[in-house]
Chain length 333, copies 2
């Protein structure tokens, strides 16, 4: 590995996913592809945090089940989430007798987890790994911004945290869809301090990682059917295209952002979806379906994360961001 | 890997460490071994969170320097901490042009990071990795418990969060001290709900991982010069010995807990030290010195983490815990 790029010569396979999403999310493009569409975003729980954890647990269990594996066959669970001390992931891990690695990379948790899973499988340390993350609008809103009861006005540059979770089983064999390489991102901070403008904060990190990946692999943007970012939203996506164009790379023909496409109706959610659950649901349902059907064959999946906390912002800090990229390819010959 | 145990046939080496600790910590056993002993626990910063981050940045930079390497030669930074959204690690990573993997495993962050670093180095994906973590008494106290200004009475089962940070460089060559195997822990929850009794909460997780490691490697406790836990404290250490004895394993001859030994005078800190910085400082200074001098040759290092948050405890949850073990050995023949 130099400059963060790893090549997986044994081509670890993505063999199954498990997904669940909230009522608002299921009105959109992911609705017909998720394993469970919730009609009640509390999922029968007494708090939003417990609902978030229950969704993540569902996604892990369902992914293992969809892989036609059982818990005992899983070597590793890699998971993280947005809540303080990643309690959704830790309490989910408590429900499984699987060795657990907790990670934190904000909304880029899924691509960090994919990269780590591929490292473990490619090197032979693990046969079956489950990577999972999720988020919940209401738990994120009250942790990062204001209690919902305040009914605060949302500014137009804001995004809507996705209520949903996704789990992914990565194995040494079992499908044609492989993780062929990955680029671990560096922290990039362009000095954005507006905690409602995640897209602008994260776009430079996405640009840095995507361009580093293209350079390390010797590929061009058009070599991919899809360059899929996590939750830049509409504004952040425009900024990414602008930033990469300045560096001589045109991403516009094949760039899609999970946050930009997850909601049908742009109303309260303004710039689109965000949250670790955004790319977890979109990749693991809608995109996964297209990969399985070979409608798309080669994806550069680059989830993006804003590594702020209410404390860092309260103490006047700007927002450091990161993005990790994984190359996912149908390797059927 | 089965049941979480990985063997590192290429024997990744620990080649250098960098450490810094607060005034209270430096009165104790680590005082003469740390690279920098602070006389002021604000480290010249305006907030405790900024001081914590500055310590972590120091530890990373110093570890790289002590390894006689430069930033450009580092392939990966693996770090996490206790603060919400691991801001110490993320803001530290912002200061370095090194690919960054954020992890969260509470006070077992260092051993999780060691295991991951060894995976990357052993498999050839990285040549030089820096693993780092830290904590600060005052930032932890106000995040997890009460504002210091309240002057709350501390119960006798409590521990004192260590102010300090440690960084470790793990490379493919450069010393005789190798990471030879690791066991990734599972989440264990014995139903403890007292957030002041971390030792009791974490002891079962330490027991689970240590016994799993001994079983997977076919070793006995007495094969190690030292079985080093992270921050069980005095009470937690007694519980670990009791629990393992019940399972037929006597750890008492060679078990030492970083939290139990870090403070000389047991006064306010009652059961001893805790926090991600506890084992980060003790291992990387005091123990590292003994390993380098070959005074001890084989250590099973098992840091322990309590995966709670104020939200999970406030919602009535018990405390899920985890421990990751790494076997560290002087392989000079």
């Amino acid at each position: 590995m130099r400059k963060g790029t790893i090549f997986f010569e044994n081509k670890p396979r993505i063999i199954a996913t498990g997904t669940i999403a909230g009522p608002k999310e299921c009105v959109g493009v992911v609705g017909q592809y998720v394993d469970q569409a919730l009609t009640d975003d509390t999922f029968g729980e007494s708090t939003y945090e417990k609902a978030e954890c229950k969704m993540l647990t569902y996604a892990v269990r369902r992914a293992i089940q969809n892989a036609k594996l059982v818990e005992e066959e899983m070597d590793l669970l890699i998971s993280g989430d947005l809540l303080n001390q990643i309690i959704s992931a830790s309490f989910t891990a408590r429900d499984f007798d699987i060795p657990f690695l907790g990670v934190y990379s904000a909304c880029s948790t899924l691509s960090e987890s994919f990269a780590l899973s591929a490292v473990f499988v490619n090197s032979g340390y693990a046969k079956n790994v489950v990577a999972a993350t999720g988020s919940h609008f209401s738990s994120a809103e009250r942790q990062y911004r204001y209690p919902l009861e305040l009914g605060n006005t949302r500014p137009p540059q804001s995004q809507w945290t996705v209520t949903g979770a996704g789990g992914t089983v990565i194995s040494n064999a079992g499908s044609d869809i492989a993780i062929t390489s990955a680029t671990i991102g560096r922290v990039v901070d362009f000095g954005i301090t507006d905690v409602n403008n995640m897209g602008a904060a994260m776009a430079p990190a996405a640009c840095d990682t995507i361009l580093a990946h293209l350079q390390a692999t010797g590929k061009r943007a058009e070599d991919y059917d899809l360059i899929l970012t996590g939750d830049l939203g509409a504004l952040g996506s425009r900024l990414l295209k602008h930033l990469s164009e300045q560096k001589g790379v045109d991403l516009s023909p094949n760039h899609v952002d999970c946050g930009e496409i997850i909601y049908n109706v742009i109303e309260d959610e303004f710039q689109g979806g965000s949250g670790a659950g955004c790319s977890a649901v979109v990749f693991n349902s809608y995109i996964w379906n297209k990969l399985k059907k070979a409608e798309i064959k080669k994806v550069l999946f680059c989830a993006t994360g804003a590594l702020l906390s209410t404390v860092s912002s309260g103490q006047g800090e700007s927002i450091p961001c990161i993005a990790h990229a994984v190359e996912i390819e149908n390797v059927k010959t």
